[in-house]
Each structure stands twice: as structure tokens, then as C-alpha cells.
Subunit: 358 residues, 2 copies
């Protein structure tokens, strides 16, 4: 009787005839037809369900191989109600090695749990970030890790409220509760600054990112605290905020060096500013010492005293991944359960280490 179920594209469309290999994505039914069994049996074989005769299973496996069958994980996750196995990662600038390493750390951890990472880049644009988060939620990612571009995190709050686990990286959540992983910005800045003070510097300049950025603000606070502890007051004229690019940083540093009583050392909140400052110092031919946050390649060949609060952005990503995976685990364990207590937000802090060159 040749079992011609009325369904199946093979029947209705009649295909071209020549090759079966060209069919984009055969389905369980295609495999089933070829192996002369039902779709359910195919599904069972793929699930390694033991309740199938070895002979049948072999036929099915052969048919699947011949057709190049790959099961549709999206359809599967829909049916199973399991997650999609996707994790959304939203960063401000993937071109920055800092974030690409963070991404790698995230991927390494979540990948170890069978999850894949979907990356979105915001380019520091809030609207872009909103759109990305919206989209990731619509794609039903199992969770989101985000380095927010701005203090306005209402879209993240909405996603979290909607039941999507959110982990905030590099800055704390604002206006809602979520796991987060931070760098010891304050401590690192304080330690590095203290080091400059110990070396005898009393007039220290400060070059920082926009103060609206959490990390920048924290590092400024650490800097200020170190000065205060040494009985020194921070001088506004030595502080330049807002530089994001090396070129801007070079100009800002040149300004400081041109002051009547120029700083004998400069503290920079990130490697963009550090490199920019280096160029200014070099151009001025001044013996100014340099200190900053974030290590970078070739820092050792610059030929001036350089102290850096370094930290592992890979580890930052890994920790974010771990927090997210832990959340997903809880969620799975809770299942349909009623224990409405979602375990309060966790906060991890990645330490900084002091590196000295020159």
C-alpha cells in the first residue's frame, strides 16, 4: 500500500526528481517516509529512546544520514517548552578588546552549558540597546547579559520583570534588581593613586571618561579618596573628564601639562586616556609619570614609569556567565513550583592587580 499519508511536501510539491540532497532541511517526516516508519519513531531514534527495535533504528539512522537530516532545534524547543538555548550578550563596543574578551569569557562559560551566545553591539547608543534587548526577548533567549550604555535601564527592568534573567556587567543595575558583576573600580583607582603618592607625587592630574559612566565615577572616587587619605585636596584644574578617544585624551593631557604648575603625574581611568596621555607626555618631553586603569599591549615599551590597575575582562565575562547559568539552574529547578522567592540578586566583584612598567 506504500503508505501515502496525505501530508508531506514530497507528495504535494512533487520535487524536481533528481537529487534528494538538495532539499533544504528535511524533516522527521521525510526521514520517516524514507525509513518506512512514522515520524514518532524517527523522533524516538533521535532521542535514543531504547524502545525501538535495533533494526528499525538502523533503518532510521541510515535514512537520516542519507538525507543529511538535522533536527530543528527551534521547533524542538518550542514543543518542549525548554529554553531556546540562546543567551543574549549586549555590549557597547565589541571592537574594544576589553569587550571582545568579555564576550569570549561569557561564551566560554555558557557554551559549556550547551548555550550559544547572540551578540549585539550598541555603539554606546541607548536606542540601539533598547532595540537589541527587545529583539532578544522576542527571540526568547534564555537570559541576557548586558553592559548598559546609559543609566537609563528601563528596558532592562522591563525584560527582567517579564521573566527574562538579566545580568548586568561592569556597572550596577539601576532602577531594578538583578545579578551583576563589577570591577573593583574604587579600590583599583585608590591603590594606583596611592602608589603615585608613595613615589612622592603631590600634583596629580586626572583624565577620565564621562562622569555619567559608572566606572568613571567610581574611579574618580577612588582617586579622590587616596588623595584625601594623604591629606591632599583634589584640585579641579587638574581634572579633565569626558575623553573617550585617544586623540581627545592627548589634547586634555597637553592642557594639563601646559599649566603653570603642571602635574608631575597623570592618572587615567582607561587605556584610551592612558595612551592619549602618553602621546602628550612624549610630545612635551616631560618626565611626567603615568598611571591608569586597564592594561594594554606594548605598555612595557613606552619608556616612562607606568603603573596600571589591571583586571581580567575575560574573567568578568565568565563571572557574568556563571551568574546567569546559576539563575537558569534555579529557574529550571523551581519549575512550575510555587516558591515565589527568586533568591535575591547576587553581586560579584572582580579584583584588580597592580602592574608596574618602566
Amino acid at each position: 500500500m506504500v503508505a501515502a499519508t496525505r501530508t508531506g511536501k514530497g507528495e504535494t510539491l512533487g520535487k524536481s526528481g533528481t537529487g534528494a540532497a538538495k532539499d533544504p532541511h528535511p524533516t522527521v517526516r521525510d526521514v520517516a517516509q524514507r525509513a518506512r516508519v512514522s515520524a514518532m519513531t524517527v523522533s524516538r531514534v533521535l532521542r535514543d529512546d531504547p524502545k525501538v527495535l535495533p533494526a528499525t533504528a538502523d533503518r532510521v539512522r541510515a535514512a537520516a544520514a542519507e538525507l543529511g537530516y538535522r533536527r530543528n532545534e527551534m521547533a524542538r524547543s518550542l514543543r518542549l517548552g525548554s529554553g531556546t538555548g540562546l543567551v543574549g550578550l549586549v555590549v557597547t563596543n565589541l571592537a574594544n578588546p576589553f569587550y571582545s574578551r568579555l564576550a569570549l569569557g561569557v561564551d566560554a562559560v555558557v557554551g559549556g552549558h550547551g548555550l550559544k551566545t547572540v551578540i549585539g553591539n550598541t555603539g554606546h547608543d541607548l536606542d540601539s540597546e533598547r532595540g537589541l534587548v527587545e529583539d532578544l526577548v522576542a527571540r526568547r533567549v534564555d537570559g541576557i547579559i548586558v553592559v548598559p550604555a546609559d543609566d537609563d535601564q528601563r528596558h532592562l527592568a522591563a525584560a527582567a520583570a517579564g521573566g527574562v534573567p538579566v545580568v548586568v556587567a561592569s556597572r550596577p543595575p539601576n532602577g531594578f534588581d538583578a545579578d551583576c558583576v563589577l570591577v573593583d573600580d574604587h579600590g583599583g583607582a585608590r591603590t594606583v593613586t596611592r602608589r603615585l603618592l608613595d613615589a612622592g607625587h603631590r600634583r596629580i592630574g586626572f583624565l577620565g571618561s564621562p562622569p555619567a559612566v559608572y566606572t568613571g565615577a567610581e574611579r574618580l572616587r577612588g582617586f579622590t579618596d587616596a588623595l584625601t587619605e594623604a591629606g591632599i585636596e583634589r584640585e579641579p584644574r587638574y581634572v579633565r573628564l569626558g575623553q573617550q578617544q585617544t586623540a581627545e585624551a592627548t589634547r586634555a593631557a597637553a592642557d594639563l601639562l601646559a599649566l603653570p604648575e603642571p602635574p608631575t603625574a597623570l592618572f587615567c581611568t582607561n587605556n584610551r586616556n592612558t595612551i592619549g596621555a602618553f602621546r602628550a607626555i612624549r610630545a612635551a618631553g616631560a618626565p611626567t609619570a603615568l598611571a591608569g586603569f586597564d592594561d594594554f599591549e606594548l605598555a612595557d615599551v613606552l619608556g616612562l614609569p607606568l603603573t596600571i590597575a589591571a583586571y581580567d575582562s575575560d574573567e568578568l565575562g565568565k563571572e557574568a556567565g556563571r551568574l546567569l547559568v546559576a539563575r537558569l539552574g534555579e529557574r529550571a529547578a523551581a519549575g512550575g513550583g510555587q516558591d515565589g522567592t527568586p533568591a535575591s540578586a547576587r553581586r560579584a566583584v572582580v579584583p584588580t592587580t597592580l602592574v608596574h612598567y618602566g
Copy 2:
């Protein structure tokens, strides 16, 4: 009558009772129930189908907003038979700025077409690459862009044969036909080498990545051709292959500089080798000139003559994205059509530009 359709989790599970906002991912039916319409009407409103009374549409939109409804794009793409809107990107090492910029280029282009990028990192591991590609296909990505880790590309051939558009970046496809985007490795290396020759150098050392890597082989070929054109024969003792890390490159360069008749210039096939060679030259205090492939930050402050064949990896990614998008466009246009001619594989080449420091 209150229309209690027998379906719906709201009915069977009976929920907790307090808040609706906590429901993870409401569905069209939840919205429908709240707006007292059918699921189909909700779907129509979300599709902006004009055949819905404005009053009804407003009710639906209000209900959707109250519930925080986001439609399930995965389920939607399953029903529509449209793609998943995902593009797989597989690279060898995202921590390398080269690849992260490539990723950014890809994402910028495909993102402009409503596609999202799923990133996989292989760490140069072939098995890992196989697994990733397998997985991406199973997730039904609309296409894959890959920087192969190895000459063995059978898994890519399989994916392509299975009907998934594949674009190969940075090296050519091997053993199957696919669009690809390459760098002008040969031309760049030849030009840079010629520049060294023009500067009077006759003994030029070569530091390269493993010869199995396509780019490395091509660059060696360009180097050799330039020498040949100048009537010089390549001397094996000046050639060191296989260094992937700066530390290895430093040792290899030191070896060359320690030869009885050391090279007066070194050509390096990538920035790992260039930076490694720089350290060796600096340590030896030799006046050796340096040339290489791939620009890098701070190249201008090294204090020795440095010529670089630079190219834009962002552009490489963009071009790959464009090729893929073009393929997807064709596919969509062809639809169920029978014009079995899949337009032969395209090949794009990104040019290099000469940069000189020092």
C-alpha cells in the same frame, strides 16, 4: 457566557492570582482573552492588518501592553517558513581585535537587514568548529560566515550542500564551492617587500605563521615573488615559520639577528610576529628595519622604520555580510521557483594599503 475556551494555561493551571505581570511570556491567547477577542485578531493587530476595527485594535494593544506581551519570533518564523533571522559567525579567536572588528562588520551589515549575529569561537580547534557549525545548522540560522580553522572544511561543504548559504572569510573554500572574501595577501606582501628592497635592503628575514594557514602561505609567496623580481633568491636560513605568539616570534627573530650575516630587515606576516620581532630588535640594539602585515596600535611609537601592509578587517566582515545578504536575497527571490542555477560563487578581495612609520 464568558467564553472559556478549554485551552489556555490561565484556565487549567489557575495561576497564583495576584499579578499578571509575572507570567513569563504571555501568548497571543493570553492577550486575546484579556481583550475578549480571538487569538487570530490579536495576531492581526500585531501584524497591522487593517481589517480590524480601530476600537478592537486598541483594546488588543492595551491588553498586550498591560501583559508586557512580546510575540515569539521563533514560533513565528516556524509558522511562516521564513528564516530565523539569525546569522552564524564562526571565528578562530574573538580576543584578537582583528576578528572582533570583523564580527562587528558582519553584524553591522546583516543587522541592517534585520538579522542577528550568533557568534561562535573555535580557538583554532577543528572539532570545536565542526560542533559549532553543526549546532548553527540545527538552529536553522539563515546563513553562516566562517573563518575556517583548518584546510579540512568537510563540515562546511556538508552545510552548504544541505542548503545553508556559507560565506568563507579570510581564506578560500576548500573542497566545495562558496562565496568568499579574501585579503590581498600576495599583493600586500609583495608591495611591502618591494618597499624594503627599494630602501636598499638585500638580506631580508621572514617571520611567518604556520605555512598550513592560507594567509601565511600567500604572504610568503608574495614575499618570495618580490625577491625574485629583484633578482634575489630567498635564503632558507632567513625564513622562520610557525610562530603564533609574540614570545615565539621574539625568539625566532633573535635567532635571525644572531646569524653571522644577519638580515638588515625583517618581514613579518602578522602583528604577533611584528611585535615579537620588535622586541628582539630592541633587545639586540640593532638598526634592523621592520615590515609586516596588520596594523596595530602604538606602531608609531616604536622608534624604528616600520612599514605595514594594513587592511580593514571591519571591511572584510562587511563584505562577507554583503555576500551573505545577497545570497539570502536571491534565495528569497527564487522562492519555490525551479531555476536551479544558484548563481556561481562570488569572490571578493579586500585591498591592503601601505603604511609607513618611523
